[in-house]
Symmetry: C2
Subunit: 297 residues, 2 copies
């Protein structure tokens, strides 16, 4: 949608994250070896569900943009993905979105049971913080990462609560952005910040990357709303038009479809512009932004 | 029950924790000021539910036992209580214990709704880790506390899962201890360790305090099982005999009532013995153990 003059870009960051994360997640969960086998199975199921691994890709990319090796950001990538996976398990529960399918597979509470899914989510959140401790970074960087990740986890849950309160109401643009900045934006920003902290970012570098992450997060959400209107169920893994069916406020509903598409482009371009000071090392992050806002799946 | 020759001891640690914690918890939640008002209300409700504040008392007591001021352990006390409160909110949910009342008041999902209770628990867990970051301890002690607390949060959820798997089955003593060491013991040990870390404990001090916490945690659980048989509903805040109704394995069921009471005494005495190297500074912890295993409420 964004760049019709060129073919759909690939993202090396997403490819790397998609190949690394299943291994890293499984190794970490096995190494923790909790003795409750059904719970362990549910956690493994929840983390190996074919996710896009956008957040780990952002953590890797932020470290690389600062000249560090991607591996430096691996504990950060693991931690943000554990938080993301926990949130999906809880979001799917009957008292929340009550979804039976995620990416075409039964949700965790359907494949197991509600109590196990609840506990799997709870445990994955705790494991995210445990995983940070196990990195080889110095204590002050770990402390900073704990602060960033816990703040994001709080904001994400607050965003979910705001989203529930907003159902059936017509939000204005400011209120809708407020919901999304909490619900999805906070963890996307944290993913970039965690990778940057792992690489020893300066305050100026952190600030530039944070603008990138903030704009990208919103662009991603606007694009997701657009896909909900124009996409088909097979490609996006949920029922097309499901937001409308749930009476959720969306960007296309507020702005019209064309203006919403334009907003996604604008936010994408602002995200790219924020990377200017980082030079060519930030190319993988640019490529990722192109891919995420161009994506048709 | 333990010491019939003297009157019921008071615990200065519990008194301090019960007077400090409501203020500390409310101040912290208000300072975080999440913008979802219903969620904030649910969190405040969940943390000011008349809890005994045993875990904060242990954190304070461990710091004092090492010659530090109790205030050093306040962030630790806050963090462990946030984890405890989150676990109660989730344990009460319909898919778990499905309890309508806790300490005679509606449970959080009854006072609010299930989605809000789920998110309140999720947020309280994240806030526990955020609260650690906000202490004035040096980064290496905070890192150590994050490791201890996240490990305990994992073990606690594993214990819940083990407990669910065990329902309707007859566990032997080893298996029952395994469940309790995870479900309740892990956070009790973490509470003591977190307070001790705040006070700059040596490895030997940590080890002595950990034996105290481990024995006390088990003594507390055995005593709780005994109270479920002999206590009355008004005093213990749940239906007497409710464990039997749920076909849960208990110490009285496994050992007989008298032997279970004897085991509580033995564990209590082992807890006290472990404090020997710490001298008179550990008196408040001794007093707390006396109170907890003597308690009739």
């Amino acid at each position: 949608m964004m760049t019709p003059e060129k073919s759909l870009p690939e993202s090396t960051l997403l490819q790397a994250a998609q190949s690394r994360m299943p291994v890293v997640l499984q190794d970490f969960l096995r190494q923790q070896n909790p003795s409750a086998s059904r719970l362990s199975e549910a956690m493994l199921y929840a983390v190996t569900n074919g996710g896009k691994r956008v957040r780990p890709a952002l953590a890797y990319g932020a470290a690389q943009a600062l000249g560090a090796k991607a591996e430096v950001a691996e504990p950060a990538a693991l931690a943000v993905e554990l938080i993301h996976c926990y949130s999906l398990v809880h979001d799917d529960l009957p008292c929340m979105d009550d979804d039976d399918l995620r990416r075409g597979k039964p949700t965790t509470h359907k494949a197991f049971d509600e109590a196990t899914a609840l506990l799997a989510g709870d445990t994955l959140q705790a494991l995210a913080f445990l995983s940070l401790h196990e990195s080889t970074l110095d204590a002050s960087r770990i402390r900073q990462q704990v602060a960033v990740l816990s703040r994001a986890a709080v904001d994400m849950a607050v965003g979910q609560a705001l989203d529930i309160e907003a159902e059936g109401k017509q939000l204005d643009l400011v209120a809708l952005e407020h919901v999304h900045r909490h619900k999805t934006g906070a963890l996307i920003r944290a993913s970039v910040a965690m990778g940057a902290i792992a690489a020893g970012a300066t305050a100026a570098q952190l600030a530039a990357l944070d603008v990138y992450a903030d704009k990208l997060g919103l662009a991603f959400q606007v694009h997701d709303d657009v896909l909900d209107v124009i996409g088909d169920t097979a490609k996006i893994g949920k029922r097309a038009g499901s937001d409308i069916a749930r009476e959720k406020s969306t960007y296309p509903a507020l702005l019209g479809l064309e203006a919403a598409q334009g907003l996604a482009v604008k936010l994408h371009d602002e995200a790219i512009a924020a990377l200017e000071p980082l030079g060519a090392a930030a190319d993988p992050l640019r490529e990722l932004a192109d891919f995420l806002v161009d994506r048709d799946h």
